[in-house]
Symmetry: none
Subunit: 85 residues, 4 copies
DNA sequence: CTGCCATTTTACCGGC
DNA sequence: GCCGGTAAAATGGCAG
């Protein structure tokens, strides 16, 4: 059944409103992040490098797992591991 | 003066940590938004159209006209508009 | 039957290699497309609008109407259409 | 100067046409890739795993560099590396 | 048919 | 103020 007739317009309005509210909150946080970068910059740190560091920290955590997983995947693809492994 | 000697390492760590914390919060909100869209979808609404509507609501009237006019110009140049349009 | 014993490893390697080769070609073409857009941009055209136009050309007439109608319905539900529209 | 007057319409047409042509080629390649996967599948290989393998092969190359780079980046952020490094 | 993943597109932000 | 690259969002496609 298509959402027309009954309360659909209010329904839609509610969803839209909730989303727009959340997007505002999200924007506030983005602004806070910007502020922190600005503060760091005025303390003498290089913003671009900080971005790199953060990005790499995010990646670093999962990298090791992935590397081990790569080996396992190869073996599996070639039928070199038993099922329960 | 370069930020070296003294408290720089801790300093940097603090900035990075604050930012990472904020980015987590931001991600939580993004997830919430996704949830709302999913809920709307399972209520029968079309997610893509909802995105369009939200975008339009955000856009100021003058911007809209500008955008529409530019698109029209391009379509005309490519023969994509009929006479009565 | 699992693909193991005999030539499976070479077999897999061949498939993977063929795919990776094709993906490279695909990437080259993507790059070419980017180049053309860049060229158009430096000739003074608006890239975003070009994307829109291309999308519209791809879309069949009936799909377009459908899409337009759906959007109109949502806007109406949200009070975003004036009477004369 | 805006691109209107003179040969702009033809100009635009040419750009659009070139792009559409390239997109067709790209689609052909995508189809070829799909074919290879289908062929592999009917030879008994698991498509999902193949995707994983390909993805990981792409990542494997750059992982090591990244890890070393992370350390370097930290040092740099703290002013612990000299300029020419 | 649904959910997931890849790609593409858009927006943002810092640098010049 | 513009350009470039970087990160997020959105769309589309594929497997299950």
């Amino acid at each position: 059944m298509t959402p027309y007739g009954g309360l659909s317009a209010e329904h839609l309005e509610q969803f839209i409103t909730r989303i727009e509210r959340l997007e505002e909150e999200k924007k506030d946080i983005s602004d806070s992040i910007k502020d922190v970068f600005a503060e760091a910059k005025s303390s003498g740190f290089d913003v671009k490098t900080m971005h790199e560091v953060i990005k790499l920290r995010k990646m670093a955590a999962s990298d090791l797992e992935e590397k081990e997983y790569l080996l396992y995947t190869y073996k599996k693809a070639l039928g070199m591991v038993s099922e329960e492994q």
